[in-house]
């Protein structure tokens, strides 16, 4: 039996192997993927983005998109902890010498880690950060996920006009950047529309019980209930709202996060009627999208959701920019990303505006018969 000291030493040696320099071959281009696959519910959308990015890279390699040069994808998990997001960024930039980074999963991580990439001159393309201000960090920061303020005001205006809404209730996740950011945008848009907000309720990440909030909302008799919530929370809220007998005439509007087959699985028949604005839905007729959905399902055994779509397009856009740049030069890749217009993505034709926000065509969808269809 070895001494505890030796045991510790052995442990440290084994671990230290992972900290050595990385041997990247000359004929490869490395892209970093900073996604949370552990650390609680953020892993839900981190894994989707990781899967989709891997799919995009494998396809590009198979199609020899960069000629003889291979694209290597290095994924590092930050455990949804923003301290680790910074660790991951520094390591991708310093050790793995990545050309660009796709990620991170959470906006909190983006605010902490993106400035490092900006300083190092490494382009970052986010696929799930929707908080406002992320791309203001610098001219190397892009995203394909449209911030809520690009989508929500239009959706709410349409809904309020169509259903002659007078009274609105809001419910949102107070401790999550994504949902909180969505709430802020929704509130501003509702105020601009001049409707009365009769109830504002919150919940926290991990909550599964919304009955107390919904009972209060029901008593306030709104015509419209606006959700600032992720897919699984939206499903819970809708089910419990119906169980509490909130009438069918009351309209529900959700965020882009609800665009997921998971939502229908979890909500069941209660999903019916939810309205959300987004660039993507699984039945989107774009040919590129139909192909993507098929391939994704074949490889991962489940249907993609909106984060898979964002992840796929983020990776495709980065690969395209490397191809256009003709090299793995970070500056050239950034410039080509910034120039991208009307790239055929699964989200439809996509490009970046001067603020490096996505230029896409948001659609208004409604849940109907177990799927999202265009709201008419």
């Amino acid at each position: 039996m070895s001494s505890p000291y030796q045991r510790l030493a052995a442990l440290l040696v084994v671990g230290a192997l992972g900290l050595g320099p990385s041997a990247a071959a000359a004929d490869t281009v490395t892209i970093g993927l900073a996604q949370s696959i552990t650390g609680g519910s953020p892993a839900l959308y981190g894994i989707e983005q990781k899967n989709a990015a891997e799919l995009a890279v494998d396809e590009a390699n198979a199609a020899k998109l960069l000629g003889d040069r291979k694209i290597q994808l290095v994924h590092l998990d930050d455990g949804a902890d923003r301290g680790q997001t910074v660790n991951v960024f520094q390591r991708l930039i310093g050790r793995d010498k990545v050309v660009a980074i796709i990620g991170p999963t959470l906006s909190t991580g983006a605010f902490a880690a993106d400035p490092i990439a900006q300083k190092a001159g490494v382009p970052v393309v986010a696929a799930s950060n929707t908080a406002s201000g992320v791309t203001d960090i610098g001219d190397y920061i892009f995203r394909v996920s449209p911030p809520e303020d690009r989508v929500t005001p239009g959706v709410l205006k349409t809904v309020v006009d169509r259903f002659k809404v007078k009274r609105v209730a809001q419910i949102y996740g107070i401790d999550d950047q994504l949902t909180k950011s969505a709430y802020n945008t929704q509130k501003k848009a509702l105020e601009a529309l001049g409707v009365e907000i009769v109830a504002t309720e919150t919940f926290q990440r991990g909550d599964v019980e919304f009955a107390a909030q919904l009972t209060k909302i029901k008593a306030a008799q709104p015509d419209l209930i606006v959700l600032g919530s992720l897919a699984e929370e939206s499903a819970g809220i809708l089910r419990q709202a119906r169980q509490l007998g909130i009438p069918k005439e009351v309209v529900f509007v959700g965020t882009q996060s609800s665009i997921s087959s998971k939502f229908f699985e979890l909500a069941g028949p209660a999903a019916e009627g939810l309205i959300a604005g987004t660039a993507w839905y699984i039945d989107s007729p774009e040919p590129k999208n139909q192909e993507f959905v098929k391939k994704y399902e074949a490889r991962f055994g489940r249907k993609p959701d909106i984060y898979s779509a964002y992840g796929y397009d983020a990776a495709s856009l980065v690969i395209n920019a490397i191809k256009e740049a003709g090299s793995g030069d970070r500056k050239a890749v950034r410039d080509n990303l910034a120039k991208t217009k009307n790239f055929p993505g699964v989200l439809g034709p996509i490009g970046f505006d001067a603020g490096r926000e996505p230029v896409i065509d948001p659609k208004i969808l409604v849940a109907s018969g177990g799927r999202f269809v265009i709201f008419k």
Binding site: S3, P4, L8, G15, G18, Q90, R91, I93, F111, Q177
Partner: protein, 297 residues
Amino acid sequence: MSEWLASYENVVALVLLNGILGIAAYLMLIVNRFSLATGGLMAIGAYVSVLATMNFGVPFALTLVLGGVTAAVMALLLGAPVLRIEGDYFALATLAFTEIVRIIALNWESVTGGALGIVGIPTETQIWQLALALAALTAAVFAVHRSAAGRVLAAIRGDEMAAAAIGIDVARARLLTFVASGAICGVAGAFAGHLNFFIGPSDFGMIRSIDAIVYAVFGGLGGVLGPVVGALVYTVLPEMLRFSAQAREILLSLVIILAVLFMPRGLISLNLPLRRWLPRRRGQRGKLAAGQGVAAE
């Protein structure tokens, strides 16, 4: 070397920062209190210092002091009523404090930015500052261990009732320790706030408090180097295990379980050459009887 540092700069910073937090937790543990207030006190230090920087342009050095003092005052106000609560009840009362701070930070949007946090904080925190702070703190705690005050703390740890019986004001000593621990958490919070451009309420929850205790206990409560070694290993371990993205969590938890099983008195209980740097009284027997006997009678 500089390239290595560029890749692992933040890891190094976190090791040092966590070392400081580990010592804050350690100080409470050696007076037999399992404090989960670390996260809450750290949050107070972080928000106060960051707001001072962002809104009033206060120099960084001064914001460190400000963060430390505010957290210390908070610890004083909190500690006076709470410290008389014993054992696991105390742990849960301080957990309640940390959670309440987090909920206030989430709701007090005009000041804290709510869940969206505060963005664009100037990154003033440097590795050398953290290293200096950790070194100074380690030296200070080491000196305290060697002083009459240190013997008082050791006596409380050794047996609370006997300590009271020789005239030691256990409650007062504990309150002072809590205030000192709070000041350290506050300064650590101020450093953390100026490390990564951004702070938000989720940075300072229960997990932060538990992690700090893990550094101390995992490292070993035999001396001030225990929490520092604990923070080092516990912070670097996840980075070392990156060679397996899929199984990282499983490996990490297995390593911790094995470490706990085979080194039940902490890493520092190993026969390291460091040992002579530890205070004299680290015993051959690691079991802290008093820690178990806190629920009196």
